[in-house]
Point group: C2
Chain length 187, copies 2
Amino acid sequence: MIESAASLFSERGIQGTSFADVLAHSGAPRGSVYHHFSGGKTELTEDAIRWAGEFTIAGAVAAVGRSDDPVAALGSFRRHWANVLRVSDFEAGCPIASAALEGSHEPTARDLAGEVFGDWQKLVADSLRRGGVAGPRARSIATLMLASLEGAIVLCRAQRSLRPLQRVSAELEVVMTSALEQSQRAA
Amino acid sequence: MIESAASLFSERGIQGTSFADVLAHSGAPRGSVYHHFSGGKTELTEDAIRWAGEFTIAGAVAAVGRSDDPVAALGSFRRHWANVLRVSDFEAGCPIASAALEGSHEPTARDLAGEVFGDWQKLVADSLRRGGVAGPRARSIATLMLASLEGAIVLCRAQRSLRPLQRVSAELEVVMTSALEQSQRAA
DNA sequence: GGGGTAATATTGTGCGCGTCATAGAACATG
DNA sequence: CATGTTCTATGACGCGCACAATATTACCCC
């Protein structure tokens, strides 16, 4: 049920998703929501955001952990999001971004999104640091990667094309490899 | 009234903004909407997106046109969005991004957002080309800039901090200046 | 001065969310 | 082993709101 909610959030946004939609998608009955999530939609939303964040982290950790190469992680991210966009015909995006944008009246959702983004950024930054990049630069590049990928997903959805994601990935790869080379040259 | 709509869209999103909100914010009377915008909310939304796109373009054109320096344009963008985030206490974002994310059931809004993004991207790419950067690379960097700035705004809102925007701007400046230097060295 | 058009105020309808009353099952007890 | 009780889950109802439409009023032109 949480999975259905996260999926629908990534397509229609949080405010655009009603209980009925979630229930229809998950097959769960109407009254179950209030019993499982006594906090109502707020609690369901929070749990869905948390789940989506951890789910993506898990996939990224698996990709980064295999070979501790941030460039490989970038490729993994690119393939993941390209797949999401393709199979949904550019209807789905990043549920965390939706939470960050729509959660004006739902402050907790936005704060949670901020935490998730922080976790993701830390993941990439640590990988870069292990590659020899200095701390501040690693954080800076990690933020650039996160921001540009999230932005690229938005552009892809708006223009119904994978090109923004491809271009951004290519440029990011240049930035990261050059930073890694510089650090190795210094060593 | 369109201005109020765009402003509210950037804060609460499209689906989170009701007619009453727009009217309360603009001071216009209740029944006016349906007469001025016979298409209802759809038409108001479309006009607001168009207006926001052209408004931002106008500001950017003014900044880029003064000195045809894409790096200066980047600085202008950074200051603009930093100001938007600061004065709204991280409540406001980019209305076009909201339109792109929320417009699943409102296909026209998403297509309009795609067009606006295309216009912006073309603006930056042309400026880079005039700086000597080859066409494909210019388009690629322009897409990176647009995507990372939009993503940075999302990150800033979620984390209630200007740091993502600062980091992204710094990294983008490195990318752009190095590309411009390379092209001048080749010439 | 009368008719027509445009702008506004009021009303209606559909829907999303939260709550309540009922049914079923599991466990404990006689 | 049967029955009663309690807890959990579920489907049905009501309230509130957002949007669209219609009726009324004011203004302008003829």
